[in-house]
Assembly symmetry: C3
Homo-oligomer: 280 residues x 3
Amino acid sequence: MEPNNLNKEQDKNSWVLKACTLLSKIRDQSPLIQCITNFVSMDLMANTLLSAGASPAMIHSIEEIQDFTPNIHALCINVGTLSPAWLPAMREAAQVATKAGKPWVLDPVAAGASGFRLNACLELVGLKPSVIRGNGSEIIALSKASIGASKGVDSSHESMGAMEAAKSLAQSSGAIVAVSGAVDIITDGHRIVGAYNGVPMMQKITATGCAVTALIAGFVAVDPLHALEATASALSIFGIAGEIGMDMANGPASLRMHLIDSLYNLDQAAVSSRLKITGL
Amino acid sequence: MEPNNLNKEQDKNSWVLKACTLLSKIRDQSPLIQCITNFVSMDLMANTLLSAGASPAMIHSIEEIQDFTPNIHALCINVGTLSPAWLPAMREAAQVATKAGKPWVLDPVAAGASGFRLNACLELVGLKPSVIRGNGSEIIALSKASIGASKGVDSSHESMGAMEAAKSLAQSSGAIVAVSGAVDIITDGHRIVGAYNGVPMMQKITATGCAVTALIAGFVAVDPLHALEATASALSIFGIAGEIGMDMANGPASLRMHLIDSLYNLDQAAVSSRLKITGL
Amino acid sequence: MEPNNLNKEQDKNSWVLKACTLLSKIRDQSPLIQCITNFVSMDLMANTLLSAGASPAMIHSIEEIQDFTPNIHALCINVGTLSPAWLPAMREAAQVATKAGKPWVLDPVAAGASGFRLNACLELVGLKPSVIRGNGSEIIALSKASIGASKGVDSSHESMGAMEAAKSLAQSSGAIVAVSGAVDIITDGHRIVGAYNGVPMMQKITATGCAVTALIAGFVAVDPLHALEATASALSIFGIAGEIGMDMANGPASLRMHLIDSLYNLDQAAVSSRLKITGL
């Protein structure tokens, strides 16, 4: 094997080992993941975390944050069906998590859909999330702090077109930034990796983006010091579950079912043969 | 062929063409459908719209209406889990949509279950929806402006028994009124058509009524000037997806999955062989 | 047959007859079950009730209680995604139901997760629920009136370890208390029965606990004077549906689908061959 190919092979093996190790840790430790999330995604998000081995808790009331949040292993905040009443609890949960040294992950759904939403997302970005995951339009909206880049919750930008925005946002926020798309891009503002797993039909299932953000929280929970690796691993693992599910699916609804079943059953052989993460 | 049968055949062909054309338009244009809806239905409603090719956005906060609603292609308002806090946003979204010339569709879930709910629905009816879709009990409650006609969210009236109520409501409101049932009835207050597709087990899946209302919004979005035809087409298309799904289903949960898959895969041949819409 | 075995056989036959009779009654009478429940569970809870033959209504607004709640057949209150705004309606619905002689069932999700949540649950317990169903950690938290016994929404206690707590809670509250687990325990504070149906993977599906609590409400609705028997029957019926579903499942998501389908199709032969309820 050529030295360059050898490096690539080693690199691939190292990512497979990383992803499998983290998935095993989730199954062994069953980390408690608090999700303050939108109404649409709660079911799929909880089932995604359960299938991966984590323990989800959809607890969003500000009255519970001080008692509950210090006991979690990671927090996921998603602004999908945002209203002013929910924002104080998101803010407080982020602060309590940070103070307790627990990682937290932000999903800035439709960040550019309104001024209210953009300001809420920018404020949350300022509260030091460990990871921010969105689609191209959302990351561009956050990076430029401007509305109008997105059409609703679906992206009108390819992930590759948001690479500079992602780097810039990662540098200014200190968070790992992930952009979902045909290729998922993950960056800490300097290093950039691409995760290539997944199938297009996953975008025809509501809340798959939200669900993978929760899964990132699960992965970061068991390896908080390597958030970039944990994020890329979660994105690939979810994508692989989608690929395996797609082999059995007849449409978006059966894909959703098979994706969750596949995530539950995922083994090292499947990860090893399918995982594709590379430096960009 | 006898002249009368020839007319019927032409009529059928014209409905098939209409329904297929609208479905193609949704798939091509991916209209943005804002849904202010109940908590139970959000998942199925979003997945129904995605499977049909539309882009759903569950954005319900009054703070976002002025920025977001002018950019949508149609609005769906559903009062299923109504609370006073949500009503102002429903009102404002309906007004902004109307002012921007965007069609909007009302689902008066359990309209007769309480005075609060009935009054909210009547107020929304006064804001000029393009289409109102309910079951027999809901349309009767709205038409008579009286509570007690319905037992919870399930209808205690057949759609045919609500025909006069539907005509009367259509005339007084200016909306197209659709009554779901074994036969779906659609009227503008003068003309009445019946849509015969669907299977009884669809009523054993929660939120199928809500989902078809959202689908109507998708169809009206791509043909706002022919709301009666768009509404009848959406009801038949959803019913046909249910019929095809039923061939593979073992119960309500597998029917739900196959229905969504079938909607995603629906082609002209299936519509042509199954669609049944006639004048009444 | 030995006299002792004969008694056991008679006992088993009597439970089979009880469970089948109640399920038939639900299918015949379609009782109206009001659910004030968490956002995560609404879909599965409604579909569980529909598949069993009941008519669910997720109506939670305090403005509707006086009009609507007197017409229901049973009420289910679940505190999963509790916030202060929802508590007054829960309180009022419980009071109106009790005053109207309608049974109501409490699901104290994650009762020990915070002081706010524990106090809310204890207050609801004081409003005389007919049945309380939780996991081991939740029943212990309620019985000891102390937080910290539970890790999020998943139990860290086996049901058997909560037996004394369940008896004590039943005695102090006057409610039937059910503890879900590998064995479901049901007690009125004196008599204790165990229900053995179900499969472990049901815990990997979000909201199965919530769903079975709603099913208990359905069973108690058609036999309010025998709440212990109705509760044990509902737990076994749901467990049997899970067992049958498990024979066809490849993971948690397909199990969820097959469970609901199986509940819909459940017949006396399956109940007779699988049901296992015994005195403890």
